[in-house]
Symmetry: C2
């Protein structure tokens, strides 16, 4: 059950607010802040002509550990999606192959390869990836169809 | 319908053979040859302590373009699976981000990340990956379960 706050304001009116709703809003603001940086990375990638318009960042204790964008064209590497490159960068920086203390924010819904990389690195996914579990099924079905 | 060959042998007996079966056998021999090399790469990776026991090769016109093994520990990179590293290597060598003229052979069933990389690079999968389309569903379900 949600916790309820009763707050008396300066002009004497009484507000009844949900603490859960406030918490949710704070999370959304935090998500928004990091997602904005991920999107900035996507713009940067397009400006540099490094690859497609996709950016991603990895955050640990509210600090950005690594930020990167799609580097497919720059590196001549079809696996150099923003999420994969940022995971590589963060692992190199932290000198560990596991990012369970970190969170990833991406400017777009990850593709199955990136989803796999996210899973393998154990990096947490933010609220921004809520639709991942639904879209992955559809995407995979389309992929598998090509092999038939 | 299968083509049928009638062959007279030296001792006068007549054999009836299926050309299709012969073709299939030839493919299997070819697959076996390349899979053997992929497995050799897996052994090599373990000897070097570069990562897990997984190897992969990319073949173009019956010639090996690139061969590599799991480099997760060596590169401190959870995305450096054999299939991903060999795709990167082949793309770098051929200076192209698309490998539709090539085939990949892996010592093990690829994980969803590697499957995604295979799809993105357009590299063909051999007969050795026949069970891929079935196993991928199960693996993905297990992965998604962790996010619930």
């Amino acid at each position: 059950m949600e916790e309820v706050n009763v707050v008396q304001t300066k002009n004497g009116t009484v507000s009844v607010a949900s603490a859960f709703a406030g918490h949710k809003e704070a999370i959304q603001q935090r998500d928004h802040k990091f997602l904005r940086i991920a999107v900035e990375e996507a713009y940067k990638g397009v400006d540099c002509e490094d690859g497609g318009p996709f950016g991603a960042i990895i955050v640990c204790n509210d600090e950005i550990v690594a930020r990167c964008h799609n580097m497919v064209l720059r590196n001549t590497d079809p696996t150099a999606h923003a999420e994969v490159t940022v995971i590589r960068k963060a692992c190199e920086k932290l000198n560990q192959i596991e990012l369970s203390d970190c969170e990833i924010y991406a400017s777009c819904e990850p593709c199955p390869m990136c989803f796999g990389a996210i899973h393998l690195s154990r990096v947490k996914v933010g609220n921004a990836l809520l639709f991942l579990r639904f879209s992955i099924y559809l995407y995979l079905l389309l992929m598998l169809k090509e092999f038939h």
